[in-house]
Amino acid sequence: MSLTTLDAVHSTTSSRFSVPGIGYALREQNRYILNDPAINAVEITFERADDPLRIDRYLGEQEFEHVGIHALKLSVASPDAPGHNYLDTLLAIAEENDADSISDHLGFTRDAHNGIEMGHFAPPPFTPAALDATCRNIDFVQTFFARRDRRFYIENIAYLFRFEGTMTEADFLWRVLKNTGCGWLLDVTNVYANAVNFGFDPYDFIAEVMPAADRVQLHLAGGFFDKHAGMYIDSHSEPIPEPVWSLYRHTLDQGRRKIDAVFLERDQNYPDERGWRREIRQVRAIAEEVCCPR
């Protein structure tokens, strides 16, 4: 076998069996376990890193294979494009922390450019007009970030209500990804929550949308079922539930060779050190099992 052939085999093998970067969405509460051998990626929530009195970079000295910046206020489904100041600051934090990607949510948080903010993202109406506005804004954002070689990913959100629309969420998302070519930050728990709350098959949803995405990152988290509201709440407060683990396996299988990184989110009821380590190791073990079958 010639050297060229050997290289070709190695290259094919590594791309076929590549395991995504695995890590936590960084919180002060999990900073101390980021040197765990299971972790080689990290996600920074922009609003947490944007501390004006901070002197050192938010990540400190530690290096990771993948660093993602996660934003909350691009509001890509608003009628107006996001403001340059916000984009500049996002990019500055990305550069300071050597991030290779920036992400935000598929929804709107404000009415217009200099208007008011709701504090959290609402889903867009799944209509052609919303699709036009969203794609135009994502194109704008991608062009801005591409100048500094940062890739943009859009996250499917968990929502508690829906506007009247003319297409399904899966159809809307498929078109957004196809029209803009942006990456998909697939929040597996959000798909699960919406499937529980609005009665669709989460496996079909992922299988339907995945072909439209060139690059994918994943979010995993745990919430709870609120009996009073009759809804699953994506609170990031509990361990990942079994149905989400199953959906994660399915996602890894569907997204083979496309998934760059998997980020685990926890924002309340923080576990102890064993809990932090156990869950992230399980995330890696499943990824290795699905992506590198023996």
Partner: protein
């Protein structure tokens, strides 16, 4: 002039109406836009959750007021139902808007006004740092070398004094937030010290020192003596050392 397609005009109208009403916690106006199987109760789950989080954040941002206002929670709740969050809210901007709202809508005692001034000044330090991040980082780096250079202040004529660029003044009318030895009213300087914020009340001479350095600095002791002939060199050195100790001045 850009002409919007008719569907985009309708879309803009829908998003503006929904966002503006949901930002203040009023879910009713969203009803005409909801899918058939959705009710206002679903929207209320969303708006209530957002407002609860906003109340928590504002309370965090105006922590100093907790001892000065008996019903701070109620006041914040009233505020968020009246004043929507501004687009691109960053840092403590919502807390600042609450403090301005408080001054405009409530009758406050001089002591309460001092608490408001103190909180606003702390936020202003953060705002100054946000606008001049490079200046903040450079000064703090310079400061890390200052301890080594302090001994040279008497002998090195080229040593320059740099004023911390991340600072702001506030005036306290009462004694409630001042040290025992300070007299009210007092001008208080708030400034960044690493990631912390420090405060110091100054008498007129100290305030003049800071303002001179702010206007003409950075400069050496010799430069300073040219500007201020009335103060002795030893007094200047003593003042510089005190200011360097507290993180207001660095040498380089």
């Amino acid at each position: 002039m850009i002409t919007l397609a008719p569907n985009m005009i309708d879309y803009r109208d829908q998003i503006q109406r929904c966002a503006q009403t949901m930002a203040l916690g009023y879910a009713e106006d969203v009803r005409p836009f909801l899918a058939d199987d959705m009710t206002v109760a679903h929207v209320r789950l969303f708006t209530d959750g957002n407002l609860d989080k906003r109340i928590e954040k504002v309370l965090d941002q105006v922590e100093l007021l907790k001892t000065a206002f008996d019903k701070l929670d109620d006041l914040v709740s009233e505020y968020i139902h009246e004043v929507p969050l501004a687009a691109y809210d960053t840092g403590c901007s919502d807390g600042d808007r609450f403090l301005c709202w408080l001054k405009l809508t409530q009758v406050t005692s001089p002591e309460q006004q001092d608490h408001i001034s103190c909180q606003l000044a702390r936020h202003e330090v953060e705002n100054v740092a946000r606008q001049n991040r490079l200046g903040h980082v450079r000064f703090q780096e310079l400061r890390s070398l200052t301890a080594r250079l302090t001994a040279d202040l008497h002998t090195n004529p080229d040593l320059r004094m740099h004023l911390n660029p991340i600072r702001t003044w506030a005036t306290f009318q009462t004694h409630v937030l001042l040290d025992e030895e300070a007299t009210a009213p007092a001008d208080v300087l708030f400034f960044a010290n690493g990631q912390q914020i420090r405060t110091s009340a100054f008498e007129d001479s100290g305030k003049d020192f800071v303002e001179t350095l702010a206007s003409h600095g950075p400069f050496t002791l010799t430069d300073w003596k040219r500007l201020d002939r009335s103060t002795s060199r030893s007094d200047l050195i003593e003042f510089c050392l005190d200011a360097a100790e507290m993180g207001l001045v660095a040498f380089g």
